[in-house]
């Protein structure tokens, strides 16, 4: 059974009298352990697709299954619980909470999952070491570089040991070298820890990292390749 199964998923947005067809009957399966990239030009539906897989948006029609569960019919709290337990998010602009320290930012998902404090602290230390930010625990996000912040976001995404990490343009706000180091970190996690990654990009250099590349155009899967 695939980790994610999208079946003829349609997503339309209404803008006044105009309807935007963001996704048109998209079907896709993502297996556990994959390192998959969704690529395509701006406005082709990459973010919409990730939002639907990540249960932060609902499809107009079609069905989405995550780990065997039909998520497209989930209620609000069920969706939140699924995201908390099984999905990690990495955002293009990092989206760290500016008033909290790096350690606290990483701790938030575990706190929401009501994990014991001792366990949380140990996990935070482990994750900070994992992303190479061990000495920045008490720093605030604005004291870190873009690449470091994205590493914090990766650590936060991994906090509750999710089945899937979704990354929307994770390197778009980073320079080439920094972006590459972030991708290296993601790739390492995928290869050594078996974390499933699904990320979007329109940067050809980033695509090279992916083992599977899905090409979107005008809300439809144009094709896919395996490297």
């Amino acid at each position: 059974m695939a980790l994610v199964e999208m079946e003829r998923v349609v997503k339309n947005y209404s803008l006044g009298r105009t309807t935007i067809h963001a996704l048109r009957e998209v079907s896709l399966a993502v297996e556990a352990g994959e390192f998959t990239s969704i690529v395509g030009p701006s406005g082709c539906g990459k973010t919409t697709m990730l939002n639907l897989v990540g249960c932060i948006d609902l499809p107009s029609s079609g069905s989405i299954r995550f780990d065997g569960q039909l998520t497209s019919t989930f209620g609000d709290d069920d969706e939140a619980q699924l995201r908390l337990a099984k999905i990690g998010f990495i955002f293009q602009s990092f989206n760290l909470v500016p008033v909290l320290t790096i350690a606290e930012n990483i701790e938030i998902p575990m706190m929401l999952a009501r994990k014991p404090k001792r366990e949380r602290r140990a996990r935070v230390e482990e994750l900070m070491e994992l992303v190479g930010l061990g000495e920045y625990a008490s720093h605030k996000p604005d004291e870190l570089s873009g690449g470091q912040r994205q590493r914090v976001a990766i650590a936060r995404a991994l906090a509750n040991e999710p089945r899937l990490v979704i990354a929307d343009e994770p390197t778009a706000n980073l320079d080439g070298a920094t972006g590459q180091s972030v991708l290296d970190a993601m790739k390492t996690l995928n290869e050594k820890r078996g974390v499933t990654f699904l990320f979007s990009t329109h940067d050809p250099r980033v695509m090279r990292y992916a083992r599977r590349v899905i090409r979107l155009r005008d809300g439809e899967i144009e094709g896919e390749g395996v490297s």
């Binding site: 619980q81 908390l84 606290e104």
Partner: protein, 401 residues
């Protein structure tokens, strides 16, 4: 960590936090000021009930509806016997003979109608008069009259050593007597200052031509037992043609007024709540809308809507508590000052049973209640912001919409 997040998030907008804290502080200040004022009035009335008047008043039954209460039949005949029986009740703290009557106080060509009380030399009632004595002594021994400074001024008799009291005696004949001024008082109670005088019991009896008192005033150890004391004494009193009334029926108007004050405080508090909550709602709403993206992120990583709402409420409650404590810290010294020195508001305070100066009262429980109420204002103000902030989808929140 939610609390820390709420606090730190709030502190990111110091001007807005200051606005909220000040709005709450001002509300609590107003509530504390009004409470202190009302508590002062309540204290005055409570004192009036507990210290100034009888908890149980005994009089002849015929006096209740008499056209002329000064008639001989309206005085208590066997006062000594009744007093002995009433004193045997260990719930009774004090028992005094009191004879109220109307009289004309005359000095030279001027006269003033006053309510005069014939009192025992060592009376324990009318404590306001003893506290407000400015010349002489109260209670006084021997023959004498106690009048207010205001009455003397109206009579043009400041410094007079004697006054003439003219009454209609128990038989309907005029009687008068020149009485030495033993005490001049000035209370903060217009009822005493404007219309009351006191004479010693023998002078009252001599003026009226009576042998017994008109009333027996009982002060009890516990005023709340007045009904029980009355009930146990009533059969015996009825045998002597007497009736007894308790302070709750004698001071019914004051009790209604005290209850009205509670409603008055509630109305003021609701008004304050509406005004302050509007300011706070707007300020917190702006905070919430500015942090939509942050809330979107938190919800994307698993925070539930109700947790987000709790976060906003916590933010409001933290600021509310800070404002409430600040408001109380500013108001309590002011109220304490006004409790000690009073607030001169002229004749307006006469309407509330006081003199020209309004003395405030304090009650720690009311202060705590006001602090809680202030915090509640902020929580209520945050409630709408919390609901509005959690209404949209995660995607919209992430876009900052």
């Amino acid at each position: 960590m939610l609390a820390k997040l709420a606090l730190l998030s709030a502190l990111r907008r110091p001007k807005r936090v200051a606005l909220i804290v000040l709005a709450v502080a001002l509300s609590v200040f107003v509530m504390e000021f009004v409470s202190g004022w009302v508590e002062g009035m309540r204290d005055r009335m409570r004192r009036k009930i507990v210290e100034e008047t009888a908890h149980v008043l005994v009089e002849q039954k015929t006096r209740l509806d008499a056209l002329d209460p000064l008639e001989p039949k309206n005085y208590i005949e066997d006062a000594a016997g009744i007093e002995g029986r009433l004193r045997a009740d260990d719930r009774v703290l004090r028992l005094e003979e009191v004879t109220p009557f109307g009289g004309l106080v005359i000095s030279g060509s001027k006269n003033l109608p006053l309510q005069i009380y014939g009192i025992e030399p060592g009376t324990g009632f009318f404590t306001q008069v003893s506290r407000g004595t400015v010349e002489g002594r109260f209670p006084f021994s021997g023959a004498g009259i106690a009048v207010s400074r205001k009455a003397l001024e109206l009579l043009g008799a400041a410094g007079a050593r004697t006054l003439i009291v003219l009454v209609e005696d128990a038989y309907g004949a005029p009687a008068y007597r020149e009485i030495p001024v033993s005490c001049v008082f000035q209370t903060d109670d217009s009822e005493f200052d404007d219309s009351t005088a006191f004479v010693d019991a023998p002078t009252a009896a001599a003026l009226l031509g009576t042998t017994g008192p008109a009333e027996l005033w009982l002060r009890l150890k516990n005023p709340d037992e007045a009904d029980a004391v009355r009930a146990s004494a009533l059969p015996f009193l009825e045998e002597h043609g007497c009736v007894a009334r308790t302070w709750s029926s004698l001071q019914g108007n004051l009790l209604v007024f005290i209850k009205f004050m509670d409603v008055f405080i509630l109305i003021i508090n609701i008004f304050v709540l509406i005004v302050a909550a509007t300011v706070i709602t707007n300020a917190i709403l702006m905070n919430v809308f500015e942090k939509q993206r942050e809330y979107g992120t938190l919800r994307a990583i698993g925070m539930k809507r109700k947790q987000q709402a709790l976060l906003v409420l916590l933010e409001g409650a933290t600021q509310g508590l800070a404002g409430a404590i600040l408001g109380a810290a500013l108001a309590v010294p002011v109220v304490l000052f006004l409790k000690r020195h009073g607030l001169p508001i002229g004749e307006a305070s006469h309407a509330f049973g006081g003199g020209d100066v309004m003395y405030f009262g304090t009650n720690p429980l009311v202060t705590l209640q006001n602090i809680s109420f202030g915090t509640l204002i902020a929580v209520v103000g945050s409630l709408y912001a919390a609901l509005a902030g959690t209404r949209g989808s995660v995607v919209d929140a992430l876009k900052g919409a």
